[in-house]
């Protein structure tokens, strides 16, 4: 690269005013890690209180604030922004574009996030405390019966929603308009495909969430009764609206994770992804189905039996495309030439644990059985298998995989592997026993529990502390890599890695693909 390329601005203004996709991606990633630590701290408080039966550390009301903020911060602050950061860094490099299509909006969609979360976190210090109604904020607990801080929560949700919508529009515009000549849709890496579909989901459902919180605001301050039977409304209406957003939301979280794993597994299997086209179709099928299954979160609200049957059948159907994806990943590994560097370990960890989460998901889809599972720790175990072992493991895999390309330095492999094994064991010790206590009858979101659940809860708490502590090792490894990691100059970094980003110099220069690359005539994926 010649001298005529201008580099980044100096000092704080580089970060405040940047329109560079790599800078913005970096900020998203650091911000989401900070939120991961914050949300994790809340989780540690929850597990510390649940270490033994009886109330020891916090009051029940504060416990509810912790479960609420843990969920909100992890979903909206940690997982979603982390994948947006990944999209920012990688999508332009993967499709041969110089930057995102809407760089100024890109800056704005990041920079409204920190104030949004500052506002959400500030509710902890308000009179009456932070929101204490769960991350699903069911009315009327979140309206008539909520602490005054709920108004700040509503405003924060609006801000996060605007950020997500702008980010998604940017991703859609980039993918549709900025692909290098010859980069047809069916040649795009699967990570780009999964984000493309995710972005459409976000644009479709974030306004629905905005509608839900606006109706709450009206009920609280302007005398409407959307969610109050006394004024002709219906509390269950809230749940329908929330889950119409909420179910696509869980796929918004998991689809980019699928994308990452679909890049990493072929690289370390030294073999092309099996069934590329079917992976694309399966992703689209999951996304479309996600719009017609929302009420499986509400089997116990007293829907008519015809509604229950519809949502049960539709939900069960999701197992088909999800199964296709799992079979394709396993087939990719089959008769490959496998090696087990840290990114591969996290992706295999993802594959095993996400599959378990998928199985429990299938069990939960069975409406009559769900009458026994609903709102117990069985559900908690299920969604942590897909959210943590799914999304977070995949994200961790992505960081290890692309970090050398981003920084030009290699992380400490031994420490990475230790991080994986401690995470893997810690995670399972935390969440596997929760299946048992859930089936045995322990409800979720309780600060205290009956004595028969004591042993498994103590085990869960120990696992959580181990898993939590292992993230400090991750942070240390990443910082040590940036500061003093062994230099890498090989463009490809990993011998099995495929894709345009691996044709760029290492570390990736500030500006890349100012001249579109030539895409080989042969399909990249077969």
């Amino acid at each position: 690269m010649g001298d005529h390329h201008h580099g980044p601005a100096k000092g704080l203004s580089r970060w405040l005013f940047t329109t560079n996709h790599k800078d913005i991606g970096t900020m998203y990633l650091w911000f989401s890690f900070a939120m991961f630590i914050l949300g994790g701290t809340f989780a540690m408080i929850i597990r510390a209180e649940l270490f033994q039966p009886g109330m020891q550390l916090v009051e029940p009301g504060f416990f509810n604030q912790m479960t609420t903020l843990h969920g909100l911060v992890m979903v909206f602050g940690a997982i979603m922004p982390s994948f947006v950061g990944l999209a920012n860094w990688l999508i332009p490099m993967m499709i041969g574009a110089p930057d995102m299509a809407l760089p100024r909006m890109n800056n704005w969609s990041f920079w409204i996030l920190p104030p949004g979360f500052l506002m959400l976190a500030s509710t902890l210090f308000m009179e009456g405390g932070a929101p204490a109604f769960g991350w699903t904020f069911y009315a009327p607990l979140s309206t008539t019966y909520a602490a005054p801080s709920v108004t700040f929560f509503i405003f924060a949700i609006h801000v996060l929603g605007i950020s997500s919508i702008m980010g998604s529009i940017n991703i859609i515009a980039t993918i549709m308009n900025m692909r290098a000549p010859g980069m047809t849709y069916m040649k795009m890496p699967l990570f780009v495909w999964t984000w493309f579909i995710t972005a459409f989901l976000l644009v479709a459902v974030m306004p629905v969430l905005a509608g839900a919180v606006t109706m709450m605001l009206m009920d609280i301050h302007f005398g409407t009764s959307f969610f109050s039977a006394a004024g002709g409304g219906d509390p269950v209406l809230f749940q329908h609206i929330f889950w119409f957003f909420g179910h696509p939301e869980v796929y918004i979280i998991i689809l980019p994770a699928f994308g990452v794993v679909s890049q990493v597994i072929p690289a370390f299997s030294r073999k092309p992804l099996f069934g590329y086209a079917s992976m694309v179709y399966a992703t689209a099928a999951i996304a479309i189905l996600s719009f017609v299954v929302w009420a499986h979160h509400m089997y116990t609200v007293g829907m008519p039996v015809a509604g229950e049957l519809f949502f049960m059948y539709a939900t069960m159907l999701i197992a088909v495309p999800t199964g296709v994806k799992v079979f394709n990943w396993v087939s990719t590994m089959w008769r490959g030439s496998l090696s087990f560097e840290t990114p591969m370990l996290f992706s295999i960890g993802f594959l095993v644990l996400f599959t378990i989460g998928g199985f429990t998901g299938l069990m939960l889809s069975i409406a009559p059985a769900d009458f026994q599972y609903h709102d117990t720790y069985f559900v908690v175990a299920h969604f942590h298998y897909v959210m943590v072992a799914g999304a977070v493991f995949s994200m961790t895999s992505a960081v290890y995989f692309w970090l050398p390309k981003w920084t030009g330095r290699m992380y400490n492999e031994t420490m990475g592997k230790v991080h994986f094994w401690i995470s893997f064991v810690g995670f399972n010790v935390t969440f596997f026993p929760q299946h048992f206590v859930g089936l045995a009858g322990m409800p979720r979101r309780v600060p205290d529990y009956a004595l028969q659940f004591a042993d498994f809860n103590m085990m869960s708490s120990i696992g959580a502390f181990v898993y939590g502590a292992s993230q400090i090792m991750f942070l240390y490894n990443v910082i040590a890599t940036i500061v003093s990691g062994e230099k890498v100059s090989d463009e490809q970094v990993w011998d099995g890695a495929e894709g345009l980003e691996w044709t760029l110099p290492t570390p990736a220069p500030y500006h890349t693909f100012e001249v579109p690359p030539k895409i080989e005539a042969t399909p990249a994926h077969g």
Partner: protein, 374 residues
């Protein structure tokens, strides 16, 4: 080296746990004491076993690859990357398996929803944070009562040893007859709750302003315990459900006794009580109804302080209003229906004389009755 190290960590973690005690820990769903519960349990086991079998297949193939198709063993990757036949197979086969699951699931669901021909109707109302039960189709007048957590605060806050049924015990359980189709009409007074007793296979949300139906036909006499399963505020974890399933004769006897109690209560509210009697009764009412929010010494918490408060030391009429009608828009509920006149008189008297309030006021049940009429 790293693998060995982390396995050692895992081993250390596991050996630190009370393994011996694990044997008694329930790890699976209970089939319970109803036919529907047993069907749900069978369905749960069927799906779980299918999942485990598929899991063994998928993970087996993966494990084989991990062990044998290694670069470190010099295995050379083949480059196959698609097969339409295989893709069709693993789309169609799971679909057929799903149909196999959907058939029993549908028939069980239809049975769960068959609320007709109930022999006994009970209205279940969720309150923050207690349940109220009202027997509707009993002959004569309806019988109703509140069911509160009976576990003392001392056990919750660890100053006393926890009892066997810690957090799963109530002052007055729901009593139902066995071999009788009991229909529960479930609703709520404030926020959404959910009424769940795993062993009798009923979980249904209690939604303010709407009535949900559920039913159960219990086969065995016994005591079955459950909890609220929808987050309903601070004390969501402290509103258990206890169901006593008794023989039909015993149930009739219990029902007559409840009616007699009700008559006795009406009679009692016309009798004046001494300050001492009111204080003793008031203290026990305070502990079950007020303490969670107002504190053991009336120092306040979720609710306002009672010790030295303008309400508890000021005008009696205002104090009675707060107790009977509650304070709109706050967690302070209307206790007028939840407490008998005797209990209300006692607790108001207690609040006006305990915690250093020493007003010397004595409130009689007749005062409460009179105040209620305005």
């Amino acid at each position: 080296m790293s693998i060995k190290k982390s396995l050692m960590t895992a081993g250390a973690t596991l050996s630190a746990l009370p393994i011996a005690a694990l044997a008694q820990n329930q790890v699976n769903m209970s089939p319970g004491v109803t036919r529907v519960g047993a069907e749900i349990y069978d369905l749960h086991m069927l799906i779980m076993i299918i999942c485990i079998v598929i899991g063994i297949g998928v993970f087996g193939v993966m494990l084989y690859s991990i062990v044998y198709h290694r670069k470190s063993k010099g295995y050379v990757a083949s480059q196959f990357h698609e097969s339409t036949k295989v893709e069709i197979a693993w789309t169609v086969v799971p679909f057929l398996i799903l149909i196999g699951m959907a058939v029993p699931a549908t028939s069980t669901l239809l049975e769960v929803y068959d609320n007709d021909d109930a022999e006994l109707d009970i209205l279940v109302t969720g309150h923050q944070w207690k349940w109220r039960y009202e027997y509707l189709n009993a002959e004569g007048e309806n019988v109703s009562f509140f069911s509160n957590l009976a576990t003392p605060q001392e056990e919750i806050y660890n100053s006393e040893a926890k009892g066997e049924h810690y957090l799963l015990e109530v002052d007055e359980p729901l009593v139902i007859p066995v071999d009788t189709k009991v229909r529960f009409l479930i609703t709520a007074n404030d926020v959404i709750h959910s009424w769940w007793v795993p062993e009798i296979a009923v979980k249904r949300d209690a939604i303010p302003g709407f009535i949900n139906e559920a039913w159960s036909k219990v086969d065995q006499e016994g005591i079955y315990r459950g909890q609220c399963t929808e987050l309903c505020g601070s004390y969501h974890g402290f509103m258990p459900i206890v169901v006593h399933a008794v023989s039909q004769d015993e149930f009739q006897g219990w029902m007559s006794a409840k009616r007699a109690d009700k008559d006795a209560q009406i009679a009692a509210s016309s009798v004046d009580l001494s300050l001492d009697a009111l204080m003793t009764e008031g203290e026990s009412v305070y502990k079950t109804q007020c303490l969670a929010c107002h504190g053991g010494q009336g120092e306040g918490g979720v609710g306002k302080a009672i010790s030295g408060s303008a309400i508890a030391m000021g005008d009696l009429g205002v104090h009675l209003d707060v107790g009977i009608k509650g304070v709109a828009g706050t967690a302070m509920q209307a206790f007028g229906e939840q407490l008998t006149d005797v209990e209300m008189a006692a607790v108001i008297t207690y609040q006006r004389n305990a915690f250093g309030n020493n007003t010397g006021d004595v409130v009689q049940p007749s005062d409460v009755a009179q105040h209620k009429q305005g």
